[in-house]
Symmetry: none
Subunit: 227 residues, 2 copies
């Protein structure tokens, strides 16, 4: 089935022209003639691309762009008669993905629509690097650690320490390496501090802190995170 394209233009002639041209290429096309209708259609019809003329009555085209960006990442291709550099910069920074100056060629618009569609299919494949060790989950993009599904609150230092150890799971990290990585070179002798934080971390993430299963001690050397 063809992808959905919402055309927003107040001039009926232009709307018809675009609708015809795009439909002929197999896209499903809807036309909105003002900002209110555009927002409404964007919510209800969920287009895959929006082609937005800036010269709108009622709500300004840029405002439409900003509002849609408040809740949706749908690609927006702006059409405008104004070719000033600042106009382009403003629209692009407000969330538009592309800016075409009228008059434009239909083939170019079609090519730019293909680029936009290519982007959205790509984005949906995004995966997140979440580390899982049994019941322990370290969601680095969200900076959230859970144990058995329960959120665990870690202080910044505790989190950094866990992140360092878990991202080198299986390897022994020496005291010195850890101290330098987290507190900097000037602290690299401060073993007592490291011990305090290891204790606190274990208390928070180990089922039985006295019998650690995640953070293992390598006597005389450092610590190792169990894979």
């Amino acid at each position: 089935m063809g992808e959905r394209i919402l055309v927003v233009d107040d001039e009926p002639q232009m709307g018809r022209l675009l609708k015809t041209g795009l439909s002929a290429r197999g896209y499903e096309v809807a036309v909105a003639v003002d900002g209110e209708e555009a927002l409404d259609q964007a919510v209800r019809w969920k287009p895959d691309v929006i082609v937005l003329d800036l010269g709108l009555p009622l709500i300004d085209g840029l405002e439409v762009c900003r509002r849609i960006r408040g809740w949706s990442q749908v690609p927006i291709i702006v059409l405008s008669a104004r070719d000033g550099e600042q106009d382009k910069v403003e629209a692009l920074d407000l969330g538009a993905d592309d800016y075409l100056i009228k008059p434009f060629g239909m083939d170019e618009l079609l090519a730019r629509i293909r680029v936009a569609l290519r982007h959205s299919t790509r984005a949906s494949v995004t995966e997140e690097p979440v580390l899982t060790f049994g019941e322990l989950r370290i969601d680095r993009p969200r900076r959230i650690v859970t144990l058995k599904g329960q959120d665990i609150h870690l202080t910044p230092t505790e989190y950094e320490l866990l992140r360092l150890l878990s991202s080198h799971a299986g390897k022994v990290l020496t005291h010195r390496t850890i101290l330098r990585a987290i507190w900097g070179t000037s602290y690299e002798q401060d073993l007592p501090t490291l011990r305090v934080f290891i204790t606190q971390l274990r208390r928070k993430i180990e089922p039985d802190p006295a019998q650690p299963t995640f953070i293992l001690t390598e006597p005389g050397i450092g610590y190792r995170f169990q894979m």
Copy 2:
């Protein structure tokens, strides 16, 4: 620190110009003068965006574009002196993400680079237009917030802040991320301002602002909207 931009241009003058302009904005810039070098740098240096001039010796610019697309999705912005529609269509269909005609304005190029970077860092956002969290309702297309059915008046900044946090519900957003998203890069150090707005928002949407249930503090990191 700054994102990496690979500039591919055989004219030394143009290369220098771009390097200067982009470096001034805080980007890390490398320049390649032919196709071979461009491919090499793309593999080894892993740039975040490639700015590619089409008029290259040895390997044609379009060929560089095609080859990079064989293994990478890095955004490619093409620069060209040719403004024929078919030239644009060809480049865009070969994998280019944007096409600028020389001469172009530096501000426009910078804006289009920001668009490209936005695409690659695009975080997953709830695409549900209206968000509901218990008694709290956030109608993003209409920009209306209600608590227990009652309209809540939010200033523009307060609304943007609430929208940003709630659109990433469950995820921790760092102070820096929030400040950049709402006030722009130049404010990214201005924590006091952010605190004031967090306080005001809590006063308006939290049943008990001293015991927040929606906007949670992640000390040392940022804030998180409770899912």
